[in-house]
Amino acid sequence: DARVTQTPRHKVTEMGQEVTMRCQPILGHNTVFWYRQTMMQGLELLAYFRNRAPLDDSGMPKDRFSAEMPDATLATLKIQPSEPRDSAVYFCASGSRPGSGSYNEQFFGPGTRLTVL
């Protein structure tokens, strides 16, 4: 049963600390997305990659957030330094390109619930 996995599932940290969230996309998917979900803003796209190359990170605060794909099986989202306003659930999703079967379906992971005190 192929699925997106994310670690950790929960993270509590203090303001100023570095936070790293990890995602393993579904094998064979070439597009990876990072979203943030809060009650106030809903689901916001932070960044996405295709074939490990960043395509759009305009939704991500550049001064403290960074997203990378060291290899095809791992995507990371890092916050340094973290702030209380970063508290949210961060979702990773993976998908395949249009025309490759699943038109544009994005498969979401279970999310990382981040709390910054």
Binding site: L55, F91, N104, Q106, F107
Partner: protein, 112 residues
């Protein structure tokens, strides 16, 4: 800019009844739409999608209707069950782009 919104933030229906969740979008260049279901503590889960060259698409107990004239999308769930209780999001994709823009979500509650 692009925006996807919902007419009703919450919806309660009796078990067994049909439900309709509505969504308005503003980007006339969007060519693909998806409905997602998110249960508490989980990530969004794909329900059904529709391309802009279609008006209607049916799945198992779900139907998506697309009215491009008024930029309106709806999700119909037939014979609702307790397991249908969740937040439902519509999402649109700009033609040629890969990323989706999500609406704010509607919370559907099924009353026994």
């Amino acid at each position: 800019g692009e925006s996807v919104g919902l007419h009703l933030p919450t919806l309660s229906v009796q078990e067994g009844d049909n439900s309709i969740i509505n969504c308005a979008y503003s980007n006339s260049a969007s060519d693909y739409f998806i409905w997602y279901k998110q249960e508490s503590g989980k990530g969004p889960q794909f329900i059904i999608d529709i391309r802009s060259n279609m008006d209607k698409r049916q799945g198992q107990r779900v139907t998506v209707l697309l009215n491009k004239t008024v930029k309106h999308l709806s999700l119909q769930i037939a014979a609702t069950q307790p397991g249908d209780s969740a937040v439902y999001f519509c999402a649109e994709r700009d033609q040629g782009a890969q990323k989706l823009v999500f609406g704010q979500g509607t919370r559907l509650t099924i009353n026994p």
